[in-house]
């Protein structure tokens, strides 16, 4: 009955299992329902723009993507789900049922991150893209929403996964970070803008949408690369925390 000798370190089956556990634990009915309403707001706004027959639809559609989608909808939805992924299991002590298994720790970090992306895309990114597409502002705007939205989802999910593992009340800290750094300091200070996920993803979205560069914009290549670097670093730090930190 010794089936456990020299187990393979990584199999797709174990990774999928971990991922599924995280998806199921973060996608509670209350969270999904409440935040889907917010996502549907993007669709409703897109519809309103479409029905307005305004001459300035592309501008309206861009302000939907910029002021609503990338400033608020995606960061907050990513914060709620990603901070819960490792945060909930660390807080209630069930993380041991994943940690005390023969898996490399990066699989846990990646599983939690993947689960967050899996949930945020249909809840926030998809409605934003649909809203932009039906607004009549042109397909390029929808493309910008998709590119910026996906990239923001990936970067915020990685950052907030780690935050959830490391601090209690990660949601409050994350809100403080979003409001103070991403939405206040980075909008005013050109230097800070370079280190903001929001400004970078917005720059990329504007490039894809062929919209004039917004305030404090960075080059679209920077806008693409910076969030990806943030993602990799955040995942590495989360793995390190799982490796070295105390598991409750």
């Amino acid at each position: 009955m010794k089936a456990t000798a020299a187990p393979p370190n990584f199999t797709m089956a174990t990774f999928m299992t971990v991922w599924k556990v995280f998806v199921r634990s973060i996608a509670t009915r209350l969270r999904v329902a409440g935040l889907s309403l917010l996502g549907l707001g993007a669709v409703a706004l897109g519809l309103a723009i479409h029905l307005s027959h305004s001459a300035n639809r592309p501008n309206a559609a861009w302000s939907l993507v910029d002021s609503f989608g990338l400033s608020l909808l995606i960061p907050v939805v990513a914060l709620v789900f990603a901070s819960a992924a490792l945060g909930d299991v660390a807080e209630d002590g069930t993380l041991v049922y994943l940690w005390l298994r023969p898996l490399p720790r990066w699989q846990l970090a990646l599983g939690a991150f993947g689960a967050s992306v899996t949930v945020v895309v249909p809840v926030a990114v998809f409605p934003l893209v649909v809203g932009a597409a039906i607004s009549g502002g042109g397909w390029r705007i929808a493309g910008g929403a998709a590119a910026g939205g996906l990239l923001a989802t990936v970067a915020y999910s990685a950052v907030f996964c780690g935050l959830g593992l490391r601090v209690r009340r990660a949601l409050a800290w994350g809100l403080a970070y979003l409001l103070i750094w991403e939405q206040a300091v980075a909008r005013v200070s050109h230097g800070a803008a370079r280190a903001s996920i929001f400004i970078n993803t917005r720059s990329l979205a504007a490039h894809v949408a062929q919209h004039p560069p917004p305030t404090n914009a960075v080059a679209w290549t920077t806008g693409l690369i910076f969030p990806l670097v943030v993602t990799v670093v955040a995942l590495a730090l989360t793995t390190r925390s799982l490796d070295r930190g105390e598991i409750t």
Partner: protein, 310 residues
Amino acid sequence: MSRREDDVVAADDRAQIYEPGYRPYRGVRLGVSHSVWALARHTAERIMGLKRPARYKVLPFVTVAIAYLPAVAFIGIVALVPNSPRRLADLIPGPGHYYGFITAAIILFAALAAPEALCPDKRSRFLGVYLSSPLNRSTYLLSKAIAVIGVLLLVTVGPPLLLLVGLALQNEGPHGFVDFMGTVAQIFAAGVSLSLMFGAVSLAIPSLTDRRAFASAGSLLLILGSGAITSVIVFGLGGPKNVLALSINRLPFELALRIFTLRGLPTGPQDGFVASAPLSTGVVVGASVGLTLVAAAVTWWRVVGTEVTR
């Protein structure tokens, strides 16, 4: 406290034996108003993380510090560059425009403070314990409102007041005592109105849930989401400009500007230096009163009106 005859079981000239069983408190009872203040003070301490471990203090204190930071920086600029060309001092905002620099801090503080005041009592079922004291649901809510609004004054009155005093000490503020006191009065009026409005809105959301984190996220989504949606409607779609009165992240600051008798924020994009006319003061005042009353009514209905058995 005070000893009574019926506590004594046996006594003679030299000795007394007292009832060994339960002896109720017979001291002075301080009444409802004392309870309200005691609970308000306790709640305010909890919001600020006082009398709790350091990690509870970090977030509230950082947020408060962010609200004061620009004021300190402006005073510093004026003080350290004394003989600067007038143009530099002209760039320093007066107390009325100062709120534009700390909007994020005020909103964040409101979104964190009110859930801390209401949610733990519901989640730990401690509300019932309070209700067995001289407090009833209305006075309980009053205590909580006093605490939240009072703590909010820290970020709505404190920073502009500091700026005013700092500038006045360097002869950069209003000239003359009457002007100075007038500005102080404006700061208090604007600060109280901001605290009342954000207090009312941010208390309404946690009254709907007992999860602190959800309440904070919900308050923030409501405040910022209303701003984002109305700006898409007005600036993007060219909808009626009065829709902007529904943006909760804008309205309280509009009202504050009016209290300082300043022109409000433009209601359209500032293309080509032609700023569009701001909302009329009547709309701003009406919407502010309406918003505060609606939010207060929701909180009242949830805390006082709804029978919560657990």
